[in-house]
């Protein structure tokens, strides 16, 4: 899980902005739009700030109120989902 997290990269074609409802993301290459709603949006913002895996898990555990194990699994699922959508590499 940690290595899955640490390998992520936001492609150059991706732009995003923080909205009240979450994070609005656009892919200039595919011309597609996405909205990542909270709490996934919180994960996105923590990730793009470049926090370590340990810090990200700590922050998201506090934000979501889940256990550390559940949080790790949830982060893993979000990352996989975003990779499939090509908003991260």
């Amino acid at each position: 899980m940690k290595s899955n997290y640490e390998k992520f990269k936001v492609p150059d074609s991706i732009l995003f902005t923080v909205e009240l409802r979450g994070v609005a993301i656009i892919n200039k290459k595919s011309m597609r739009k996405y909205v990542v709603i909270y709490p996934e949006a919180a994960l996105w913002l923590v990730m793009v700030e470049g926090h370590t895996w340990e810090k990200t898990v700590e922050l998201l555990t506090a934000i979501t109120g889940k256990s550390e194990k559940e949080t790790k699994n949830w982060i893993h699922r979000c990352i996989n989902k975003w990779r499939q959508s090509h908003i991260i590499e």
Binding site: V10, I14, L15, T17, E19, R21, A24, I26, K28, M31
Partner: protein, 313 residues
């Protein structure tokens, strides 16, 4: 609607200028008569009956008078966007033709701007062309004073209209612009101005980028006419630059430039710009726009340049 930026030359250096890339000193150029003719043909083809001449300062184009005559001969109405610091021969010409089909949108120099000669020159222009003149004010800071314009209506015979614009950010450089966080503050000032304008029978017209939420709901009745257009005018415009390229508006000028084509109509051009801007249409100038009940009904979210600027990598 389409604007023709016939020259990049300007004799003012407004801090908020959002036509700067079209007026860059490094590349001064005037629109050729061939390009101008093609632009007029485009307007005719697109069913647009008004020629809107901009710059730079359009009156500094060496063939400005010929350009006016060409447009009038082809039965266009004309609107000239000027700072008023125009050559005497242009002023004499405009005064002599006294044409009902010409309007002068005069970008006002604020009395506190430190340009007393400019203010005097503008007053001279207004005293001679007042019946053609619509004063225009570009609001570029929170501290902006609007009240000075009331005196002009007492002193001169102007058209019974005033145009208010908001200075918008340019994507290609850092100009001074009014930040959306200050819109509601300016909205209060506009309400005060509106009350004074109502008293003297002057209408206010809003340029692009105004949004309904910059005004308190209780003022909606007072601003009923202005609000009919507010929030929905940030659609792709067509701006012809002096070199013959076409952009959708000045602040977005580095986003997409299209070479003028002899067959192209406004519908096709607007469609091409809309495709380019489509990605950014789901956000507004504020993070809460996309959850606002007015979004995409009465308001499209404000200036597209600011909306694009909100995005980061």
């Amino acid at each position: 609607m389409a604007n023709l930026s016939i020259t990049t030359v300007c004799n003012k250096k407004c801090v908020y200028c959002f036509a700067y890339d079209a007026t860059d000193d490094r590349g001064k150029s005037h629109m050729s008569i061939t390009t101008y003719s093609k632009a007029l043909e485009y307007l005719e083809r697109s069913g647009i009956n008004q020629v809107r001449l901009m710059g730079g300062e359009p009156t500094l184009h060496p063939q400005f008078i010929s350009f006016l005559k060409m447009a009038l001969d082809r039965n266009f109405d004309l609107m000239v966007f000027t700072n008023g610091l125009m050559p005497i021969k242009v002023l004499d010409f405009l005064e002599s033709i006294n044409h009902g089909r010409i309007s002068i949108l005069l970008n006002m120099i604020h009395p506190d701007e430190g340009n007393p000669n400019g203010v005097l020159k503008q007053k001279d222009v207004i005293s001679r062309l007042g019946h053609l003149v619509v004063p225009g004010i570009n609001i570029y800071s929170k501290q902006f004073d609007l009240d000075y314009i009331v005196d002009y209506f007492h002193e001169f015979e102007l058209q019974k209209e005033i145009r208010l614009g908001i200075a918008h950010p340019m994507l290609s450089r850092n100009n001074v612009f009014l930040h959306p966080k200050d819109y509601s503050y300016i909205g209060e000032k506009i309400i005060e101005l509106k009350k004074k304008m109502v008293a003297i029978g002057v209408n206010i017209g809003f340029d692009c980028g105004f949004v309904p939420c910059m005004f308190p709901i209780e003022s909606f009745e007072l601003l009923k006419e202005e609000l009919k257009k507010t929030g929905n005018c940030c659609l792709p415009l067509i701006d012809f630059l002096s070199d013959g390229t076409i952009i959708s508006c000045y602040p977005l000028n580095n986003l997409l430039k299209i070479e003028m084509d002899d067959q192209m109509s406004s519908t096709e051009l607007v469609k091409r710009f809309e495709i380019e801007l489509e990605l950014f249409k789901d956000v507004g100038i504020y993070p809460h726009c996309s959850t606002c009940p007015l979004f995409k009904t009465r308001c499209n979210g404000g200036c597209m340049a600011f909306r694009i600027q909100r995005f980061m990598h």
